[in-house]
């Protein structure tokens, strides 16, 4: 394959010393400041070959720059980030998912919020690539996830054109904007079907969420599944959650339960739909709890329900629950959502993507 592939990227002669190249890359606006691997043609071709797709295969239009990202674009950035070649099919699906208009990458990249795409991988590809799903599933486990996440962040920087202080007004940003958030499900310990399957994509898939960070939820007194879900649901509905604002129309929350909690919860709620319903019911705040000046905007936005509460979610479907993490239990994690965007799921089989995906 390599000999016949013609690459479109501009060639630049630079030092092959990693320190010198990394300095040059930063000066040219290509880099996040971490060390970079020089993306030589040989390395890039190996990544393209591993993708199983042609170099010029488009993965979708990325904004604000309005560039149709190709496998070649992805491969160059993946090499620079140090992402393994065998993750190319996964990363291609990630880019395709981010490019879906329902995900609103344009808004995500421009916003004052700290939102970052977070990727949840379902299926056997988890072990092929070596993604974390036990201790430290959301960060800290040694493996390829940070490099994969970083590659996707470099795509957002270099292809989509998100530049801090220029096209991104993010007030604070967040650590996930450097190495991304890439995790996977511990399906063997989950009482429920995989996230991908629940979203209509069985097998290997990735689902992208726009999240504002990760926040811990501790419950060391949990006496049962209903109580665990009550603590999680009420934690989600903190007053500063983006979707509690009158201007937000909808948002999709992501919750991670540890395997021990998942089993306790499933004893009382074996159906995921019931888990979502309980979270939905608890994720609401009485209007009296809000400062007076917010009552009118919330009322005008029809955010106050007949029971006098402001609900975080429109429907129980607006929360996804996955299972991973260590078996030390005690903790759940919530990844509160950016408003006005939806999660998107893509199969890793590019042949199944619809035209334009």
């Amino acid at each position: 394959m390599s000999a016949a592939v013609s690459l479109a990227s501009e060639r630049v002669d630079l030092s092959d010393d990693v320190y010198e190249f990394s300095r040059e890359a930063l000066e040219r606006g290509w880099s996040d400041g971490l060390p970079c691997i020089p993306p030589t043609e040989e390395r890039v071709l190996a990544h393209i070959e591993a993708s199983g797709l042609p170099a010029d295969r488009t993965l979708g239009m990325l904004y604000p720059a309005g560039v149709n990202c190709t496998i070649e674009h992805l491969a160059v950035n993946a090499v620079m980030a140090g992402a393994p070649a065998n993750a190319m099919p996964l990363m291609a699906a990630c880019v395709s998912a981010m490019a879906d208009p329902s995900f609103d990458l344009a808004g995500i990249n421009a916003t004052t919020a700290s939102v970052v795409p977070a990727f949840v991988v379902s299926g056997p590809v988890r072990d092929v690539v070596g993604l974390p799903y036990k201790h430290g599933a959301l960060g800290g486990a040694a493996g390829p996830a940070p490099a994969i996440g970083r590659a996707l962040r470099l795509v957002v920087r270099n292809i989509a054109g998100q530049v801090v202080g220029v096209t991104s007004e993010s007030v604070f940003g967040q650590p996930g904007r450097v190495t991304g958030i890439v995790t996977s499900e511990w399906l063997e310990e989950s009482p429920w079907p995989s996230l991908g399957e629940r979203r209509g994509v069985p097998g290997d898939s990735v689902t992208v969420f726009g999240v504002l960070g990760t926040a811990n939820i501790l419950n060391s007194y949990g006496s049962g599944g209903a109580e665990i879900l009550e603590v999680v649901g009420r934690s989600l509905a903190y007053m500063g959650n983006n979707n509690m604002d009158h201007s937000a129309q909808f948002a999709h929350q992501l919750v991670v339960l540890n395997p021990v909690w998942a089993k306790i919860v499933a004893r009382e709620f074996p159906r995921m739909e019931d888990v979502q319903e309980v979270l939905y019911q608890h994720a609401a705040v009485p209007i009296e709890s809000f400062p007076k000046s917010l009552h009118r905007p919330l009322e005008e936005a029809a955010d106050i329900r007949s029971d006098g509460r402001v609900y975080l979610m429109d429907t129980p479907d607006d929360v996804s629950v996955i299972v991973n993490g260590g078996k030390g239990s005690l903790h759940g994690t919530m990844l509160p959502a950016m408003s006005n965007m939806l999660p998107v799921t893509r199969s890793l089989n590019a042949d199944t993507w619809q035209p334009g995906e």
Binding site: S9, R11, G66, T111
Partner: protein
């Protein structure tokens, strides 16, 4: 030295022509684009609509929907196209945060590409983002009416007063005559 591949694609250097000035306001149908972010922008557009009417223009206020899924997004796009067909002049706002500036400029560019005299409205802090986003779409000479920043946290009466004080500047940005 080694030959490496650039991780960035060659940037397009489109530069579309500036939109024409509005000229006389009298008899023109002026469309004011709102979204669901800012109460202050609702108050400002209410004030400007009254002043535009006093100057002989007709006004149409359109609130951009937020599409929850493909179907709603498609319908929103169609609704905006209908809005543009019904007006002679577009005022698109409010750029007052990152994502809302992106969408206000997105819709302003839609109006410009429909060859309508168009002004985007942003608060002072977000002018740079607005101009960058417009330039990426070929409109580096977009007309922008700047408003004081921040507008939030001010009483309604004060925001309405700001709207009235800034109306002559809006007329100027439109290239309009009263």
């Amino acid at each position: 030295m080694v030959a490496v591949l650039s991780p960035q694609p060659a940037r397009r250097t489109l530069s579309k022509p500036a939109c024409p000035p509005v000229g006389a306001l009298r008899g023109k149908r002026v469309g004011l684009r709102r979204d669901r972010f800012w109460l202050s922008w609702d108050w400002i557009t209410e004030e400007w609509a009254e002043l535009l009417k006093a100057d002989g223009a007709e006004t149409v206020i359109w609130r951009a929907p937020v599409g929850k899924g493909d179907k709603e997004m498609t319908e929103g796009g169609e609704e905006y196209a209908e809005f543009l067909e019904a007006i002679d002049v577009a005022i698109s706002g409010l750029g007052n945060c990152g994502s809302c500036t992106m969408w206000a400029i997105h819709d302003a560019v839609g109006a410009l590409d429909s060859e309508l005299p168009t002004v985007a409205v942003t608060t002072e802090h977000f002018e740079g983002l607005a101009r960058t986003l417009a330039a990426q779409r070929g409109h580096d000479n977009i007309r922008i009416k700047l408003m004081p920043y921040p507008l939030e946290g001010r009483p309604e009466d004060e925001v309405r007063q700001i709207a009235r004080e800034n109306y002559p500047g809006l007329v100027e940005a439109l290239g309009a005559t009263r």
